[in-house]
């Protein structure tokens, strides 16, 4: 016997609480009770049902072929099928879940792999960046070092600039500048530099002084030479004078001879006139005699006057040159011989050079720290006015000194001044000689 509870549609087991309504319908107790709470009717016939009008049923079921009948089996089969269905559903769900999880796993695996790859790449990148960082550090250090060096160089440059300024500027400017500098070291550097510059200028000064001395000596030597030459000129003039006197003597002798001859000739002519026409022979004799004597004298004089002998011309040129050195340099150069000209110009140049050197060294040498007066050197040009007063005619009252560059150092060359006096009469002497020569020529 299989009783079905229509509420839960399950078979009613005899072990369960079975209740029956007043109208005779059988349900599980819990099914009926649940329904009675909502509606006090019989689920099957809608008759009124209350808690009091339903009763528990206690059936006695025989054990014969219990559960073996078709209905029971059918019910069991249904149950089993239901369970199977549910299991299948569950299995399918689980299968789906498994595949999903597998897919997820695979995805995660891939992700992991990609992350590993990225990790590796990041590692390498990190390494590269580290290397770059190291390199940058290195560069930074290098740059810092260079910067420091630069700073030092800048400082040095500043100091050097200051030094240059100090060396070039005047004392007042330097004072101001030194007030501006507070750094002891810089000032010390400046001081040492200035000291060095001072020493250098001192040595230069000494050198220049030495050179000046040598030049002076040379000058004195030259002066001595010129004096000697003047002496020679004097001697030559004397000899010329002698020659002229001799010439005069000879001339007078010749005149005397001619007179004698003329006297003789006249006597002879008188004789010839008396004797006959021998006049052509006599004329020939005259012609031979006259030019011979005359030309010999003339040529001698001319030779002396226009001689290229260095002594004669030198004397002339020298005298003129000394006299009109400043006034007419062009004329002088015309008159004097090339060799003489060179000689003079060389002296002049040497003196000028010396002067220039002196002045230049003075300008650089005498720094602001010693306010020494630069050595005064009278140049050749400064002697101009003295010479200008000299008219070149010889009789001037003013002492005609050879242009000496430094009157201050006269004491060094006392001989020269003494020689000047000797030189003085020379121009007049030469003039005399010229006049005499002219006279001779005119004759």
């Amino acid at each position: 016997m299989n009783i079905l509870c229509t509420i839960c549609s399950d078979l009613i087991n005899q072990a369960e609480n079975i209740y029956v309504t007043k109208c005779g319908h059988v349900f599980h107790h819990h099914c009926l009770a649940q329904w009675i709470e909502r509606s006090k009717t019989c689920p099957q016939c809608r008759n009124k049902v209350t808690d009091k009008c339903m009763f528990r049923l206690y059936p006695t079921v025989s054990n014969e072929n219990s559960g073996e009948d078709a209905a029971t089996l059918q019910s069991r089969l249904d149950d089993a099928q239901l369970q199977l269905r549910q299991q299948r559903v569950k299995y399918k769900e689980n299968q789906d879940k498994l595949t999903a999880v597998n897919a997820d796993l695979k995805r995660q695996d891939d992700l992991l792999k990609s992350y590993e790859k990225r990790l590796v790449s990041f590692d390498s990148k990190v390494l590269a960046l580290k290397e770059q960082l190291d390199y940058a550090h290195l560069q930074n250090r290098e740059t810092n070092r260079i910067k420091d060096e630069n700073e030092g160089l800048k400082k040095n440059m500043q100091t050097l600039n200051g030094l240059q300024k100090v060396l070039n500027a005047t004392s007042d400017e330097v004072e101001k500048m030194l007030q501006g500098y507070s750094d002891v070291r810089t000032i010390a550097t400046f001081a040492t530099a200035l000291k060095r510059a001072l020493c250098e200028s001192e040595t230069k000064k000494n050198e220049t002084r030495d050179r000046l001395h040598t030049v002076k000596q040379q000058l004195s030597q030259e002066k001595k030479n010129s004096a000697e030459l003047q002496n020679k000129v004097l001697q030559l003039e004397d000899s010329l004078h002698q020659v002229q006197t001799q010439y005069e003597l000879l001339k007078t002798d010749k005149d005397m001879a001619e007179l004698k001859r003329q006297v003789a000739q006249t006597a002879a002519a008188d004789r010839l006139a008396a004797d006959g026409p021998h006049s052509p022979l006599r004329a020939l004799n005259d012609a031979i005699l006259e030019p011979a004597s005359n030309s010999s004298f003339d040529t001698l004089v001319n030779n002396i006057a226009s001689s290229d002998s260095p002594y004669l011309s030198l004397k002339q040129g020298n005298v003129f040159a000394l006299a009109s050195l400043q006034r007419a340099p062009l004329k002088m150069s015309d008159k004097i011989q090339p060799s003489e000209n060179l000689y003079l110009t060389s002296i002049k140049n040497a003196t000028k050079k010396l002067m220039n050197e002196k002045s230049s060294t003075v300008s650089t040498k005498h720094s602001i720290f010693h306010k020494k007066e630069p050595m005064k050197i009278e140049s050749l040009d400064s002697c101009g006015p003295l010479d200008i007063s000299y008219d070149g005619l010889g009789g001037h009252s003013k002492l005609d000194t050879f242009p000496v560059p430094r009157p201050t150092i006269k004491s060094c060359i006392p001989k020269i001044s003494a020689k000047h006096k000797l030189k003085r009469p020379n121009p007049t002497g030469s003039q005399d000689i010229e006049k005499m020569l002219k006279k001779v020529k005119n004759k």
Binding site: T6, I7, W35, D78
Partner: protein, 154 residues
């Protein structure tokens, strides 16, 4: 399977029996129902020899976890809502056993039979007289409607 609630057990059994021995012209979408036991879709054909012969309707059953003590929510869905004096155009059905007269002894099969019989007994295809008003004002859930069962003849 121990976790299966009494309502699920009963729905499972009902589904099995409905699939195994369905009433004429009624078929249940077993796959959809077994996926979700609380939402069934039942296809229904117009019974030959009635006004709805050849027509096809779709019924939707929604169950709560208190089934069978709570009645299911049954409505027509789809494009073809039967034109019937007790069926509103939004698919709601005016049927007493779906609300007040529900009994746990009733089942999906019995409800289907009731609806088939209701349609078959129809003599004139027309909408309920208060159709437009009801459709505008009604709740989505037909069980919330306080039905006034005015005509027991059909």
């Amino acid at each position: 399977m121990a976790a299966m609630s009494p309502s699920e057990r009963r729905l499972q059994k009902e589904l099995m029996s409905l699939m195994k021995e369905p009433p004429p012209g009624v078929t249940v979408d077993g796959d959809q129902a077994s996926q979700n036991l609380t939402l069934w879709t039942v296809h229904m054909e117009g019974v030959p020899g009635t006004l709805y012969e050849g027509e096809k309707f779709v019924l939707q059953f929604k169950f709560t976890n208190k089934y069978p003590f709570d009645s299911p929510e049954v409505t027509f869905i789809g494009n073809n809502i039967p034109i019937h004096p007790h069926v509103y155009s939004n698919g709601h059905i005016c049927l007493s056993i779906l609300t007040d007269d529900w009994s746990p002894a009733l089942s999906v099969q019995s409800v289907c039979l009731s609806i088939v019989s209701m349609l078959s007994s129809c003599k004139e295809k027309k909408r309920p007289p208060d159709n437009s008003f009801y459709v505008k004002t009604c709740n989505k859930n037909p069980k919330k409607t306080k039905w006034w069962y005015h005509d027991d003849s059909v």
